[in-house]
């Protein structure tokens, strides 16, 4: 009796295992939406509302840099995610790597609510290729400078303020390879910060090492920057998240100002895109459509201090000179060198092959 029983139990267990596996696959294939995005883009209450409306389960993963996003999406050809938010420049490498699928804008009726310049997708570099739309604009900001008004009496006018020796050990920076190289190039007076030619690399590296020597630290997520800024009494911060960080810092009680340097500010437009591994396209489209609704737009504006695409931004000033992100000459090289710089390597080591 005993062997039969154990055989029986074993068999049952395997059956149960298969059933669970099938259920899990079924659920993942049809009812779970896996979202990769930035902090503040998918607040839990909005996610919950979306889940209630669609009956689907949503798994949100937050990233804090383009590099990390690329790591996660390029792994297994985007098998782990259905929808993600990337800026227009970053989007290009996803299109080239065939990790995203074209989006049928008719399936996202809320695009009709967007401002005309965001509906004109062909007018935005990088969104349309061969008449196929690859992303829907969601939010945008410029990367200004945030300064502590107690310590910095005159608002900084140049990016070079970040390198000023008097701010040594008091400058808070962002841990992101492409933007930092662009930032260094702009500070060096380069008009094409997204395209470093071979002669420009050493100077850019030296510039970034110099910046590192002025640095108090590097942040990833907006909240982290706020904590480091307030705890470390930073004087100046390169605001990768722009007005979003300004709003958070003010909410945390910091007396901070925001400045756009005369060299201009890098600016990004983040868009929703759908990966090639998205099993349930309707659900992914419903997600993008949902975040174009007034509720989500308001959340961006009021909670995050970020602009949305359905109303004019209260944060951008017409006089500010913006450099909208463009695909860079070699993201891998920037990432590789940046890793070395961040780890503390000196120029010779950073530039070594």
């Amino acid at each position: 009796m005993a062997p039969f029983l154990s055989l029986h139990t074993h068999w049952l267990r395997r059956l149960a295992g298969w059933t669970l596996l099938c259920l899990a696959f079924g659920a993942q294939a049809h009812d779970t939406l896996r979202v990769l995005t930035w902090p503040g883009y998918a607040d839990p209450d909005l996610v919950k509302a979306f889940e209630q409306r669609t009956g689907a389960k949503v798994e949100v993963t937050f990233i804090d840099s383009d590099d990390v996003m690329w790591q996660k999406l390029s792994k297994d050809r985007a098998a782990d995610f259905d929808v993600f938010a990337a800026n227009t420049a970053e989007l290009q490498r996803y299109i080239q790597a065939d990790l995203v699928v074209p989006i049928d804008t008719r399936a996202i009726p809320n695009t009709a609510r967007q401002l005309p310049r965001f509906r004109n997708l062909k007018g935005i570099a990088g969104l349309v290729q061969g008449n196929k739309v690859y992303a829907i604009p969601y939010t945008y900001s410029e990367m200004g400078l945030i300064y502590d008004r107690q310590q910095v009496k005159e608002p900084p006018t140049s990016l070079r303020a970040l390198w000023e020796p008097r701010y040594r050990g008091k400058v808070l920076l962002y841990n992101g390879s492409t933007h930092n190289f662009s930032l260094a190039a702009m500070a060096l007076g380069d008009s094409t910060p997204f395209h470093l030619d071979e002669r420009e690399w050493p100077a850019a590296v030296q510039q970034l090492i110099a910046l590192r020597r002025n640095a108090m630290g590097y942040y990833g997520q907006p909240e982290e920057s706020v904590e480091m800024f307030t705890r470390g009494h930073a004087t100046l911060m390169f605001a990768n998240y722009g007005s979003q960080q300004l709003q958070l810092l003010k909410a945390a009680g910091a007396d901070v100002g925001y400045a756009i340097a005369r060299e201009g500010a890098l600016a990004w437009l983040d868009c929703w895109a759908i990966t090639r591994s998205a099993k349930n396209l309707e659900l992914a489209q419903a997600w993008i459509n949902f975040f174009l609704e007034p509720e989500a737009g308001n959340a961006l504006l009021t909670r995050q201090g970020l602009a949305n695409t359905t109303s004019e931004s209260p944060y951008l000033r017409p006089q500010d000179k913006l450099k909208w992100l463009e695909p860079v000459e070699d993201v891998d090289r920037r990432a590789r060198l940046w890793d070395r710089i961040l780890a503390g390597d000196r120029a010779s080591k950073v530039l070594a092959p």
Partner: protein, 578 residues
């Protein structure tokens, strides 16, 4: 029915005592179970505190190592400028410490000058301990563990946030959960001119600390925001590093107060979510980091399956059950004994009553008892005695009445009625057996003249003496009765020959013929006897009596004082000559 009361009483006693022991057992179990669970929780909490203290001790040990290194003369010399000899000496020291402490990833001496350039660096790389030199040494001033340490006073320790180490070139420590401890190296003026930094393998430290814990304990560690750093399921740790935070307060809602700082410790039971199948008891403490740290507070927790806690209670339960069963058995025996003790005297009394009713001898009663049953037995015994005496008296008087009814008052001889019965009886027996018997009718001659001469008292005295003489002269088996007045009758059982009857008749006459003394004078009395025989003279008592009577009159007529057979067949008997 006989054991009705015994059974009922026994059942009642057994029921009450079983209920009592059952209830006692149940409540004892309940209380003890609650106490056991409570004590297991307290134990869990204590263990968590002990673990917390051991973490503190481990940290202090690292601090001591840091102090030893920071105070080493070579350390100061090495941070103040390139000094290969001192650096080598220090590197050797670092290597030996790294070898002695498997949970250390890396030991470095970092200078405050040169943008936080590493002066001496020894990394763990796989199984090896590797000294990093030359161009591979990095500038670390932009890391808070350097800037933070350089702000500290000599002799104090800096503790970093616990993170996944992404510093490129960290060898074994790369992408591993680490915590960095550091202390400043001070110059003669007391200024921090460098820092000694030790990277500690978080999992290594906790694996060592948790070694002594029971196998079923689960260890949790969370940072001040509640992000898991250690969790039985490694995928739940460092969620913030993976873009999906996993918080202790989401899994254990009760820890919200710990994370917010409102509480220092708590105990909780969780039976939902991932613990739906195997509920746990968990203890959490909020450990304030005592050194200057970016991670100012940690939440440490231990969880134990509730089943393990309750296993002890289950053992207790079975012991209680055994005790209750034992008690019930004892109670049952006691109940039987008590029931028997109570009903035994009642039964013996009822036996006594039954025997008494059947006229048996009085059975033993428990009169010696001093209790109520003794009183009852004594009253009953007394009553029994009275009834017996009265019955005896009744019997006596009944027997007297019976005697009076069947005997002659004057002579004491059976009277006519009694004789008639005897005659009938003898007749029936004689008919059945074919026996013979004879009736002798005896009459006092001239009794009227005796009465007249001697008075009635003289006559009565004569009759008494005659009766006595007749009784004496006959056999026991024969019956003598007074039929009334001066008439007597004698029944001779089974005379074999007529001659026997003659002998007896003559003997009777002889006995009564002798003079009777009355008041000093002799009284001469004569008798006439008539004899009838069964079956010769008749088949009924009346016939037999009548024949005997007739024969007696013939005797009288023939001159008295003799006897005569009534039988006509036989020759007429001559009266015995006087």
């Amino acid at each position: 029915m006989k054991f009705g009361i015994a059974v009922k009483l026994g059942l009642l006693l057994a029921g009450v005592s079983m209920l009592a022991s059952g209830l006692t057992g149940f409540y004892a179990y309940q209380t003890s179970r609650a106490m056991l669970v409570e004590s297991a929780k307290t134990e869990l909490l204590t263990t968590t505190h002990v673990l917390g203290r051991r973490i503190g001790l481990s940290r202090e040990e690292v601090s001591r190592n840091l102090q030893v290194l920071a105070n080493h003369p070579a350390a100061l010399a090495a941070v103040q400028g390139s000094n290969p000899a001192q650096e080598d000496q220090l590197a050797t020291l670092f290597e030996s410490i790294l070898r002695a402490n498997p949970s250390y990833f890396q030991i470095r001496l970092i200078s405050a000058s040169d943008n936080g350039l590493e002066r001496v660096r020894v990394d763990r790389a796989g199984d090896r301990v590797l000294r990093v030199r030359g161009d591979d040494l990095q500038e670390k001033a932009h890391f808070s563990y350097v800037s933070g340490t350089l702000r500290l006073a000599p002799g104090t320790t800096y503790l970093s946030r616990i993170v996944i180490n992404h510093e490129r070139g960290a060898h074994a420590g790369l992408d591993q959960p680490s915590v960095i401890l550091a202390t400043p190296v001070a110059d003669d003026m007391g200024r921090a001119v460098g820092a000694v930094v030790i990277n500690v393998d978080l999992n290594g430290v906790f694996a060592t600390l948790a070694n002594d814990l029971p196998r079923d304990y689960q260890l949790f560690l969370a940072n001040r925001n509640g992000d898991y750093l250690i969790h039985p399921d490694p995928t739940q740790t460092f969620g913030f590093d993976k873009g999906r935070r996993v918080l202790i307060q989401d899994e254990f809602p009760a820890t919200r107060d710990l994370v917010s700082g409102a509480a220092n410790q708590l105990l909780t039971e969780v039976q939902d979510g991932r613990y739906g199948d195997a509920p746990v008891v968990a203890a959490f403490i909020s450990n304030k980091v005592r050194v200057t740290a970016d991670e100012d507070r940690l939440t440490l927790g231990l969880a134990q399956p509730l089943a393990a806690v309750l296993a002890q209670a289950d053992r207790l339960g079975s012991v209680v059950l055994q005790m209750v069963a034992g008690l019930c058995l004892i109670c049952l025996l006691l109940a039987v004994l008590v029931a028997r003790a109570v009903t035994h005297p009642i039964n013996s009394m009822s036996t006594a009553v039954q025997r008494f009713t059947f006229g048996h001898q009085v059975a033993a009663l428990p009169v010696e008892r001093q209790d109520e049953i003794g009183v009852l037995a004594r009253s009953f015994s007394h009553m029994q005695e009275e009834i017996r005496q009265q019955l005896d008296a009744l019997q006596t008087s009944r027997e007297e009445l019976e005697h009076l009814a069947r005997h002659d008052v004057l002579t004491g001889l059976p009277n006519r009625r009694a004789f008639q019965e005897r005659l009938e009886h003898t007749l029936v027996r004689a008919q059945r057996r074919g026996e013979r018997f004879a009736l002798l009718f005896i009459d006092v001659d001239n009794f009227k003249s005796i009465n007249d001469y001697w008075g009635h008292e003289g006559g009565d005295a004569a009759l008494k003496i005659v009766a006595l003489r007749l009784s004496t002269a006959t056999r026991k088996a024969d019956a003598v009765a007074r039929m009334g007045g001066d008439e007597f009758v004698v029944l001779l059982e089974n005379p074999t020959h007529r001659e026997d009857i003659v002998v007896i008749a003559e003997k009777l006459l002889e006995s009564v013929r002798s003079p009777i003394l009355y008041e000093g004078q002799e009284m001469q009395v004569g008798f006439s006897i008539g004899i009838s025989q069964y079956p010769d003279d008749g088949n009924t008592s009346a016939q037999l009596l009548s024949r005997a009577d007739h024969a007696m009159y013939e005797t009288k007529a023939a001159g008295r004082n003799g006897f005569r057979f009534s039988s006509t067949k036989g020759a007429p008997t001559n009266p015995t000559p006087l």
